[in-house]
Symmetry: C2
Subunit: 308 residues, 2 copies
């Protein structure tokens, strides 16, 4: 039997990643494009189709050896119908059937899911949450995304829209969120809020990377800011822990790189404020698959759907 | 084949209920004792065993025709081992193996679970949430309990301690909760908090029943108080809706009787603040099985464990 492959696609607000993976989820080739440049030049779906064709040709792979295409999208999706309801950070894609359009263009089966769900699936099957059963997975970035594994299976909710940890309110009153909510976790710990607080604190523009290295120096103000972020994340997760009693929480994304202070404060809040039976055996770990988690998750999705 | 029966037991902070049910979950006989009186007079487990023996004898049922005993307890439990970790409102029962003790005394199989989980199971199988798939169930009382059905199955969490909706924080700062948490939902909408707010508002002691009838008159202050309670419950449930994307939320317990104002405000907050894909098709309904939900859930637990 010839070797089989899967194409993984991870669409983000910043980057569009296309990868060729084998059935052991090893990345054999990968291309990264700028989402914004693609949007300016032409239709996004055409760009994705062209990029997929290119990676297939460059690697001289027969179409019959490709199991399918897995696609991670940064917005709420309808898994069965293969469409995206809307993309909060990419205008112009409302109720668009990505799966059908790509399938027609490429003649290959297409599966899609929310990007945070795919990251969660990857960390569960191959990453930091391997061996656990009830898992909550977060990605900290411009948005705060999440995914949930229940009894070893990705839980998507009644309308494929569950897992939105970033949109748990942590106060009755507070900043208005882009989602329409009030005082959502994301309004406090999304990258833009962190940068805004840092600017106020240091009276100049400061990047997340600099904020992280300042904290390591150690700079007291930077440390206090990361600790505050960890505390706020902790309040939302106390609710999640009491509600879902998971055995593992995985935290990934850029801000997770801030490291020790954020995790220390987060663990402190959970061990002090969450209920004892739920928090006693809980593991809180850093994501392990980094930027490739979405691509790997997309490949897992394809393989699990097309049982060989 | 002789007719078979199940014994359901529902232990609450106020009442201890024992019922005889048939396999269609119809209650054939029921006794209600005062939990506090039982505690003063003798050991609680002896009282439960005696009450079970009495209901069996009074109904002239052979022990071989009893499928088992189902027991709902108001605290965190270990289902497999059959023990309760502790009972927040009944002192002196830490890590007590109710199932083993009762089984030894009665010579009948015993299953146990958290009382809110059993209420949830009952409302799902026979009550307000019948036909739904992903359900969140709340009981509003002295404590605010909850249960979760995921993909048609009771979800208990990694340590049988999930579903604690009453212990989701709705603010970063706020009142200290009995559970050790800060600003838990229960500290705002548990019966004692409602009574305290009502006393401040009306400058006298006032019961929940009076507060409900005042609201119907309509008394503006009582209406404003119920609306405030609905709003606070709404904030916690916005988080639950965004996280779990359930298709149905069931609300039961005494306070749910306050009726229209509470539900109206709750629905308003969820439709305005929860994410649109999650809230669009969500049903929010009143529990239908009332005080018998726990007993019926206990019987379902027994029947589902002892498959005939």
């Amino acid at each position: 039997m010839a070797k089989k492959f899967i194409i993984g696609v991870d669409l983000g607000g910043t980057n569009l990643k296309i990868a060729l993976l084998d059935l052991k989820y090893r990345i054999k080739d990968k291309n990264i494009l700028s989402t914004q440049v693609c949007l300016k030049k032409e239709n996004l779906i055409s760009t994705i189709a062209d990029a997929i064709n290119k990676i297939i040709e460059n690697n001289r792979i027969k179409r019959t050896d490709i199991l399918g295409i897995g696609l991670g999208l940064p917005g709420p999706v309808d898994i069965k119908r293969g469409l995206v309801h809307f993309l909060p950070n990419i205008a112009g894609y409302t109720e668009v059937n990505f799966a059908q359009i790509l399938k027609r263009r490429l003649g290959l089966p297409v599966s899609l899911d929310n990007d945070a769900n795919l990251m969660c699936l990857a960390e569960y099957k191959l990453g930091a949450a391997k061996g656990f059963k009830n898992i909550v997975c977060l990605t900290l970035g411009t948005g705060v995304g999440g995914g949930i594994i229940i009894e070893g299976k990705l839980y998507r909710g009644s309308n494929d829209a569950g897992g939105e940890i970033g949109h748990i309110p942590i106060n009755e009153r507070g900043p208005r969120c882009n989602c329409g909510g009030i005082a959502c976790l994301e309004t406090y710990i999304g990258n833009n809020s962190i940068l805004r607080e840092a600017r106020r604190l240091f009276r100049r523009d400061i990047s997340l990377e600099e904020l992280s290295s300042l904290a390591k120096k150690p700079d007291k103000r930077a440390q206090a800011l990361w600790s505050k972020i960890g505390g706020r994340l902790g309040v939302a997760l106390v609710g999640v822990v009491n509600l879902l009693n998971p055995d593992c929480i995985v935290i990934g994304g850029g801000v997770a790189g801030a490291g020790k202070i954020l995790f220390a404060r987060l663990r402190e809040v959970i061990s002090r404020q969450a209920m004892s039976v739920q928090s006693r055996h809980l593991k809180i770990v850093k994501a392990r698959l980094g930027n490739n988690a979405g691509l790997i998750g997309a490949a897992i999705l394809v393989k699990e759907r097309v049982r060989l």
